[in-house]
């Protein structure tokens, strides 16, 4: 399944990326090259294989549900592009 310019645009938008129009064509070519190369996975019989999501077979560890950290407002906002009084300042979301 080849990726066309419209698909690149859609994927870019899902990725929250904006690509210049003149870059779309070459991006489609690059993505098709990579995905075409990936197609060889179809040769592998995986009918009885369980998906492998982790390299270590251990149960997720549990801990007590208690506060272990916090009260670090200054640290939390210390790298924010814009803050006021310990709050993040973000673009208007609702008109």
């Amino acid at each position: 399944m080849a990726i066309d310019v419209a698909t690149v645009k859609k994927v870019a938008s899902l990725s929250r990326l904006r690509e210049a129009d003149e870059r779309l064509e070459s991006l489609a070519g690059e993505l098709n090259g990579i995905l075409g190369w990936i197609e060889q996975l179809n040769e592998v019989d995986v009918s009885d294989a369980q998906p492998m999501t982790s390299a270590v077979e251990v149960a997720a560890p549990l801990r007590n549900d208690v506060v272990s950290d916090g009260n670090k407002v200054a640290d939390v906002v210390s790298n924010a592009p814009k803050t006021v009084d310990g709050f993040f300042v973000v673009p208007k979301v609702v008109e």
């Binding site: 990726i3 698909t7 690149v8 994927v11 870019a12 938008s13 899902l14 990725s15 929250r16 990326l17 904006r18 690509e19 991006l27 690059e30 993505l31 090259g33 990579i34 995905l35 190369w37 990936i38 060889q40 996975l41 179809n42 040769e43 592998v44 995986v46 294989a49 369980q50 998906p51 492998m52 999501t53 982790s54 390299a55 270590v56 251990v58 997720a60 560890p61 801990r63 670090k72 640290d75 939390v76 906002v77 210390s78 790298n79 924010a80 592009p81 814009k82 993040f88 973000v90 673009p91 208007k92 979301v93």
Partner: protein, 494 residues
Amino acid sequence: MSDLTKLTLKAAVDGLKSKQFSSGELTEAFIGAIEAGNPKINAYVLTTFDKAREQAADSDKRIASGEARALEGAPLGIKDLYATKGVRTTACSKILGNFIPPYESTVTQNLWDQGAVMLGKLNMDEFAMGSSNETSYWGAVVNPWKASGSDAELTPGGSSGGSAAAVAADFCLAATASDTGGSIRQPAAFTGTVGIKPTYGRASRFGMVAFASSLDQAGPITKTVEDSAILLQSMCSHDPKDSTSLNIELPDFASFVGKSVKGLRIGIPDEYRLDGIPAEIDALWEQGIKWLQDAGAEIVKISLPHTKYALPTYYIVAPAEASSNLARYDGMRFGHRAEDVTGLTDTYELSRSEGFGKEVKRRIMIGTYVLSAGFYDAYYVKALKVRRRIAEDFTNAFNACDVILTPATPSSAFALGDTAKAADPVQMYLNDVFTVTTNLAGLPGMSVPAGLDSKGLPLGLQVIGKALDEGTVLSIASVLEQAAGFTQKPSKWW
């Protein structure tokens, strides 16, 4: 006094403890070397000399009072992927251009707790996505090695190119690095240095900038196998802050160095004999087999039938995880935010497009595509199933052998600005053909320099071990190191 920067980590730590020189003197020697040579090599993207001098002074006090710890006073370089409290950490991306972490990564905290000294932050491919260090926002690293009779600048490999170049150029005793598909082992092979990626879960990922969480693993790049064992020991630990960190005892890694390998079964996978690989790589592999035979090991033919599917599998799994991990860079809470934009979506899109480089954007888009509705099962789930097959290959092979020997890379270091690789991403990806399988299976893998090719450039051999069996890997690697007698250093031009 002879040049202190040439010491191994082991020799330096011993020399400090026996007061042959001070950490202050050792640290100043490295500062001098970095100031003189780093402008040409570009291994460090940030130096922290004031901090290094403070730490060295503290170490000298501890040594004087007989309280020296495992790495007391040893100057190290830190890959810019590790969050260092109060010290700029960017993963060599513009999007984190001014990020000052208010916390310390567990791996680096472990090093400071053992008395190590930080010289600075080391260059890498942006978010560790690359095999040539050319995707770094801070510019490429130049390999200290050059082909004989040529002045062309070569890549040190990637993504840990800064770590490998800094160790090769004697800009630090040893360095931290990280490996998602070969990012420790390929640069080590390209620079005549030693690198090990331990079993997934040995080292904490807390405070490492995330690329592909199920594959990322910390490890050292060093001058010798013994140094790798020493640094690995301090880097690894169980950490409640990383849910995949293993809660098991660490063996004494250094005790495996120099141990007899007599009777060990060495697996040689037929599938690693690729078409189009230089004859020199094959010859080096044969030489490695001979060295291990001479040391009393038994050679066993094994089969890893799904090897050729490892890279395509990786290029689904890693971008999928990356697209999710990198969603956090939205320009709101930290990192770059586009200016003069008002709408929310516009701010997201422009901040990310300005902040991420070309390769990172390409991988985010691949990841988004393979996870998107209608393609999730065909690509992502399929890749996870093939990943299972690749892991099973190793399980089966390890019934017949104790450890596996392969080449580390399909070539020696290539030129910076290689146009064929720049034009075709898949050509660049093929660099990791021998290394990526162990990331998918979560196994330990180590690269040891084993000789020079006809161009006078280093080549490495790779040792792959069973899960949690770094010990045997280190024993085999140290036999190879002894047999190869690799003592060559790049001739100094920087």
